[in-house]
Amino acid sequence: MSCLQRSTRLQAELQVEPGMREAQDSGCFSLRCALRPLLAVALLEALYSSIPPSQLEEGMRQAKRDGTLRPLAEAAGPDADTVLLLLDTMRPEEILDAAQQALGELVQFGVVLALGVSGHAHGLRHARLPIAAAFVPGLPVSFAVVFYFLLETRALAQGSQRGTLLPLHSGGQEPRIDHTL
């Protein structure tokens, strides 16, 4: 099923839920579609952990011999010398670690962005703040992730029917939505 079809279907389903009318006003936004590429990135991150450092070391040595590293470093920015020196000082495990962490941050950033937009569309209070926090340089992206989940948790604890996530505390609450289709 395409994203468009799913989105249309979602719109139709939302019509039976009066509390979610706001989501209809938010236009075509399917979180699934937004998160799918992030899943690919997260899988790539997981894949990186299976690369043996010795193989990477050999690859780096080969790239240095062939001179393919410099054009890549130059493409990354004006400080090509710095990048190359940095690569020289890093062990293969560290390079893998750094690559994994960069991908992980990208995934977390995307998740916060997507959840924040969706949460805002569903009327969650302050849902845009975690997005802003994710954009702030110098602040770990995990801050934004935890912040969003805290907002959701609080909204639910206060008895709000708003928010976009599943119930964290489903005990004693009537189901809000039937997920069985």
Binding site: E13, E45, V136, P140, S142, L168, H169, S170, G171, H179
Partner: protein, 187 residues
Amino acid sequence: MHEGSIASAPSSSDLPTRIVVSLLACSIVSWQLLETTKLPSAAGEQRCCRMLGCPLQWWLLTLMLLSVIEGILMTLADLVLLARRDSAGMITAADLRQELTLTLAIGHADQIIVSLMIIGLGVSGWRSGVKYARVAVGLGAAALLSRRLPAPLLLLPGTLTQPATRSIRPVILYLSGCRRRSSSSAG
């Protein structure tokens, strides 16, 4: 350029920005702390405690605080790095290496925070009697211990392979609540 020295230093102009960011982050945590402490006195106190929302909120707040401390540590490390520049304003490769090690360590801490958040959500679901919450706890613990299961992967929705009415179900929450809700809906 000096031998073993590079000019890639965090610029001094970045630092005031980062300090302001740290202060802002602290104020957000303080605000959330106030919001959390307000909850028990609110009308929904009983429900809050019954649903175990309060401990989870405190847990998440603690993790937010840890994230802020991470940011502050990085700012401090940059300050130290700037202070140790040589007369030509260059940073030695050894210092840069230390900075790199610290950055990687903080990146690991970031992953640990997300894993702990997942475990916290799972434990909260478990204590509420949610059927598959233990799986969430297990996955969170696995992400904590193993590099092969990155924590960000667990944040992504399990709904990609599942028909859903609402499009938002991070996998951890799917594991914590979806099955139970579905079964109760069906019942």
